[in-house]
């Protein structure tokens, strides 16, 4: 994919990225990013961009944000050594426990940050989209916390497979609006949220949940999620005595992965993003955007997308609703093009197996999304014995129980314990 950049451009862009110079003033990460939005939303995006500039790094905002992260979200989240996985894999495995953050995933870091921003911008209400429901739950909770009404757009397919989260959002005071158009998953939910925003661009704040979309969202979400990588870096030095040799995170839109990777870009650490390989390599069988996609414009951003030869965006498949998206954040497109981050895939079955292995070995029920990162980490560990690994454990798997109960427990306890009824 380096062919997307001119000769010599890759190194310069990577250095700019490490220096914190990207995105540029036009919202570009090299060739990727930008702002492709309907004219009605242009003034709203300009106001948002101005608001981000004014508040995000302001001392007063940061004091509020850091206090909420500490006292309400429960940060810093733990860095957990995984002794039994380490033994099985022949490696030293560390887990960054975003599953322990309030509401059960990294999504809350972004949601509370943007909710605080929305409050400062003086909007009347907040809308959000959700795939797995984790961002919807985080948004509902964050809006309740700051006192703003919240409506969450969610694809009808996702409503069915993530039912517990729908109930949680409603109990947290949000209105959940089913989206019946398009593919009825995350992409359709974003389209519908944008349609809603167009009806009242000045009164609505759109709380986008991933590092995707038009500028300044990929930047804003990265800044709010970078706490994952910053904490991990300090905790690895303190607890493991050194930085990891490799770090792994799952990639759908790419918010937890950019949050983990961005603060580590300048270090000598192999960074590996893992996309959903679904059931196979064919168009429509997976959500492996970076692995199999091509450049195009989707939902506000020039990035890598899954599309046919006519530029029609393709439907995706993944067992995990949170990775089931046809695009990816533009900064990941650049990190792939520069060669700094490697993007691999993990299939539905492999993810299920990895989820079970982690449950059994470490007593952690991880999210189906997160399980994809473990698949690649395990393979890497087997090829690189004795190395130190960091895995972004982006969320917990309680929300996946309706999906998981469809599959029998397959891994017998390999160390001789009882195995009642499995």
């Amino acid at each position: 994919m380096t062919s997307l950049l001119q000769a010599g451009e890759a190194d310069a862009l990577l250095q700019a990225s490490i220096n914190g110079d990207l995105p540029d003033e036009r919202g570009r990460f090299g060739p990727f990013g930008g702002r492709y939005v309907p004219e009605t939303l242009v003034p709203a995006f300009e106001r948002l961009e101005a608001g981000v500039k004014e508040h995000l790094h302001d001392a007063g905002f940061q004091a509020d944000y850091q206090r909420e992260l500490r006292e309400w979200v429960g940060r810093p989240t733990a860095l957990t050594y995984a002794p039994r996985l380490s033994e099985r894999w022949g490696a030293e495995v560390w887990l960054k426990r975003e599953d322990l953050a309030h509401t059960g995933a990294h999504k809350i870091n972004n949601a509370i940050g943007q909710a605080l921003l929305a409050k400062r911008l003086g909007v009347k209400r907040v809308i959000a989209e959700t795939g797995a429901g984790q961002h919807g739950v985080a948004s509902a909770a964050a809006c309740a916390r700051v006192g703003l009404p919240c409506a969450v757009y969610m694809g009808a397919v996702d409503i069915e497979r993530q039912a517990p989260n729908v109930d949680r959002m409603q109990r947290l005071g949000a209105e959940v609006i089913p989206v019946e158009s398009g593919d009825k998953t995350l992409r359709a939910a974003i389209d519908e949220a944008l349609r809603k925003w167009v009806t009242d661009p000045a009164g609505i704040y759109y709380l986008l949940g991933s590092a995707v979309g038009a500028h300044p969202y990929p930047y804003l979400v990265r800044e709010l999620q970078s706490v994952i990588g910053q904490e991990s870096r300090a905790q690895m030095i303190e607890q493991a005595g050194a930085l990891p040799d490799a770090a792994f995170a799952c990639v759908g839109g790419g918010s937890n992965s950019i949050g983990l990777f961005y603060p580590l870009l300048g270090d000598d650490i192999e960074l590996i993003g893992v996309e959903a390989g679904g059931t196979g390599d064919g168009l429509g069988q997976n959500a492996a955007t970076l692995a199999t996609g091509t450049p195009g414009v989707l939902q506000g951003s020039y990035t890598i997308i899954l599309q046919d030869d006519d530029g029609q965006v393709q439907e995706t498949h993944s067992i995990s609703a949170g990775l089931d998206y046809s695009g990816v954040g533009p900064e990941h497109a650049l990190l792939q093009a520069t060669g700094r981050v490697t993007y691999l895939t993990a299939g539905d079955d492999e993810a299920l197996e990895a989820l079970e292995e982690l449950c059994e070995a470490e007593g952690i029920l991880t999210a189906l999304e997160t399980a994809h990162a473990y698949v690649a980490a395990r393979k890497w560990a087997k090829k690189n014995p004795g190395k130190r690994l960091l895995i972004g454990n982006s969320g917990r798997g309680d929300k996946d129980m309706p999906t998981l109960t469809k599959y029998p427990v397959r891994i017998a306890n390999s160390e001789g314990g009882s195995n009642d009824g499995a």
């Binding site: 309907p38 009605t40 003034p43 029609q312």
Partner: protein, 254 residues
Amino acid sequence: MTAHERISAAIHAANDDGRTALVPFITAGYPEPGGFVSTLNTIATAGDVVEIGIPFSDPMADGMTIQRSSFEALKKGVSLAWIFDELEKAGGFGVPLVMMSYLNPLLAFGYDKLAERALETGVCGFIVPDLPFEESDEIRSALEAQGLGLIQLVTPATPDARLKMLCDASRGFVYAVTITGITGGDVGLPKDLASYLDKVSSMSTTPVCAGFGIREAADVAAVGKHASGAIVGSALVEVLERGEDPTAFLSSLR
């Protein structure tokens, strides 16, 4: 006369006749791909400029009607290449054609080839609803090199300075979106429509056509007092969807 000048000329000609220019919109190949050319022929007799919608998988500025027509047309295999081929075979409709397309299908087609095929098939201009002016350099220069127009949209949310800039940049006509919302609205036109359209018209040297939410003769009349033309989209697509006669509907708007 360049292609985009043909669009403006057709609108001026209608106004000189004492009429509000009528710009009917259809989604290409909906409800049936087989009826595309005959439908175009029919509406071209009633319209001064005809707008052809290119179906897209993510029509984020469109309401339910255009979404439905777009998804259905895609399902039946309609593509930009097919549309150009059909237009070429038909050999002209006697009115300037404009295409309404989201950016990605145009990007995938290639801008130079797009300009070439447009010139060959009577397409004079493009409306790209997810392309703000700031991102439009590349496609605009490819189109303008061939005399084709990139039609800019303005909305009630557009600040005055930006409005002036967009009016100056627009070719063919200025597309004045009547409402703050998506296509296919049925809540009626806003009360302050007249002053908004007067403002756009006073700033623009190219004719101004109003669109979104225009469904009946009263809407066309209301718009016509303050703009040069009226664009009718979702209401016409619904007529075609119900299998009714588009000629009768379009004449009823006069």
